[in-house]
């Protein structure tokens, strides 16, 4: 079997830096982002039936602009049907 090529230290450094810089710039720790995500889920759930297991909350970066993106799947009759049949 082929062994999967391990990630270079260059890639690891770039990846870690990207994450650290995002949190530094937005002034929020990764732990606080999780707390924020839970609170967003709680608020939205009061009004909408959402798929809480598949909520994604993270930052996107464009040059030196940071954006908080929340991707929240909403449960509709169709998704319920699909889930029931699977």
């Amino acid at each position: 079997m082929f062994r999967r090529k391990s990630k270079s230290s260059q890639d690891i450094a770039a990846q870690r830096l990207r994450l650290v810089l995002t949190h530094d710039r937005a002034n929020i720790s990764p732990g606080m982002l999780e707390v924020l995500k839970d609170e967003i889920i709680a608020v939205i759930s009061k009004h909408l039936d959402i798929d809480t297991d598949h909520v994604v909350v993270n930052f996107t970066e464009d040059a030196r602009e940071t954006r908080l993106m929340a991707d929240i799947p909403v449960n509709t009759p169709r998704t319920h049907r699909r889930k029931a049949s699977s």
Binding site: S8, S9, Q10, A13, A14, L17, V20, R64
Partner: protein
């Protein structure tokens, strides 16, 4: 017309601020410009040693601020270039001896005398950093291709932006082309992409840099050295010349083939 005031900063210590200041001073002087290098690291002066001028100091910046001498008297003339000057830091005082207003006034007065004023900022983001960047028309942020140095550079860039200080340009120092080629060091493109500011130069890491701090002969004196060439090219870009970026990969291959450094 008053000269341009350029502050060399970094956040993190030990990335090569003083080396960069000394070499850009030499690089600009070689191009025929009149330059004053201000050592703003009060209490931890080193620019004098980098330039090989430690034995010529009579007065320092704090003596001038306190009215004990004239600016001309505090300026140390370089041994090699008659139009390159050092304004030394005080060694036995601390950063509180200089206010933001003091540094702005000194830098502007120096800019009346020459074409370029280079300010070597202390490490950190406290008072010393603030007075060093306050008079600047341009801030050069020096970083190394390492996670810690890039992170600190990002903080400095963020502070400059948040407080609407001078525009910043990036100097990537100590890039080891050999390690980049083996994917063991961040490459210049990735660092520029992460920090999202304009690049003004990439300086390869060569053993000669270490020798130059010992002998007080900045590497920019010798353009056959890739690091010397890189610093001289940054000086040309500061002077407004459009100089293409050196290919650090190619340079290293050249070095490898001919054993140059």
């Amino acid at each position: 017309m008053a000269g341009t005031i350029i502050t060399v900063s970094s956040g993190k210590g030990g990335v090569g601020k003083t080396t960069t200041t000394a070499n850009l001073g030499v690089g600009l002087a070689k191009l025929g410009y009149r330059v004053v290098c201000i050592d703003a690291d009060i209490g931890l002066r080193n620019l004098d040693v980098m330039l090989g001028l430690e034995n010529r100091i009579v007065y320092d910046i704090v003596n001038y601020i306190e009215g004990r001498c004239r600016l001309r008297q505090a300026l140390v003339r370089d041994k090699r270039f008659s139009e390159l000057f050092l304004l030394p830091a005080a060694q036995t005082r601390d950063k509180n001896a200089v206010s933001i207003e003091d540094m702005v006034r000194v830098a502007q007065e120096a800019a009346e005398l020459v074409d370029f004023v280079l300010i070597d900022s202390p490490a950190g983001i406290e008072h010393g950093f603030r007075y060093a960047v306050s008079p600047a028309d341009l801030v050069l942020v020096v970083t190394n291709p390492e996670v810690t140095a890039v992170r600190d550079a990002d903080r400095v860039i963020g502070l400059l932006e948040a407080e609407d200080l001078a525009p910043a340009k990036l100097v990537i120092n100590r890039l080891k082309p050999e390690l980049v080629r083996r994917n063991e060091m961040l490459d210049a493109d990735t660092v520029v992409d992460l920090l999202a500011i304009e690049l003004i130069g990439v300086v390869p890491d060569v053993p000669k840099i270490l020798t130059s701090s010992k002998t007080g002969q900045p590497v920019a004196l010798d353009e056959r050295s890739p690091a010397g060439k890189a610093f001289c090219n940054i000086a040309r870009r500061l002077a407004g010349e459009d100089v293409p970026f050196e290919d650090t990969q190619k340079q290293s291959l050249f070095q490898r083939l001919f054993g140059l450094h």
